[in-house]
């Protein structure tokens, strides 16, 4: 990657600054993808019967994070827009369901740190709220970096 880094640095410094923040986003997304995917696969293998709907949502979240990570890293902007928007919708919808009507997902109680917790439970509280903040930052970055390019 140093090969591509140097010409970019010499041509336009504002873009390079945006690109740098983008790299940090990729790293955070990669770790969240790992967390969501790893946890949901473990839960599905270990205790699928306890809350199948919640775990499948969790797996979906994990897959979306993986695609978003790749899209950000490879600069596939349209795919990044789609997956990050889906994430924001997911964390809001699943977060609201887990807070106000956990039984809809087959959950007996709403505990963001419990056995049946998922990344999107209680708006991502079990992950320090990062699942709620990250898509907002991602969308802001996508919007800003486009302005910088035009």
């Amino acid at each position: 990657m140093p090969v591509t880094e140097q010409p970019r640095a010499s041509t336009a410094s504002p873009r390079r600054r945006g690109a740098g923040v983008g790299r940090v986003l990729v790293a955070v997304y990669a770790i969240l993808a790992l967390a969501a995917l790893g946890r949901s696969i473990f839960q599905i293998v270990d205790r699928f019967d306890e809350a199948p709907a919640a775990f499948l949502f969790s797996l979906l979240a994990g897959v979306v994070y993986v695609i978003a990570t790749v899209a950000l890293a490879a600069r596939w902007r349209r795919l990044a827009w789609a997956t990050i928007s889906l994430e924001l919708a997911g964390v809001l919808v699943v977060g609201t369901i887990t807070v106000f009507a956990p039984h809809l997902l087959g959950l007996h109680a709403n505990d963001p740190f419990g056995r049946t917790a998922t990344v999107w439970s209680t708006y991502g509280a079990g992950y320090l709220g990062i699942p709620l903040v990250l898509p907002v930052l991602g969308l802001l970055w996508l919007a800003r970096s486009r302005v910088a390019k035009d």
């Binding site: 790293a27 955070v28 770790i31 270990d46 740190f113 917790a117 320090l128």
Partner: protein, 122 residues
Amino acid sequence: MILVFTIVQAVVAAAAAVVCVVLGLANRKPSDLTLGALALVEALLIAQLVIALVAPALGNPSRGSVVEFYVYLITALAIPPLGIVWALIERTRWSNVVLGIAGFAVGVMVVRMYQIWALQIA
């Protein structure tokens, strides 16, 4: 797991995270200090692996899911090397921030691992 060692690990990982993020935001490129901080985090994880393998034989078995514990530990073991490789390939200040995020993630995971081992809160 051993509580005191877990606390040391979490504190070292958090300190490494703060140092790396601060240096990155202060416009420094990855250095021996930041790469070494993550190497130290990794060394402590390897020590943790040895402790986890030996502890049950010494009367300190896991109360929670052993499989879940090792999923966390093996994933955590992979994170600092990935961060270091990233920082070596891309020598910009943002790689220091990435190293900091890696350290932070390991710190959180170590705490979770202790919860699984000693309390099984999940």
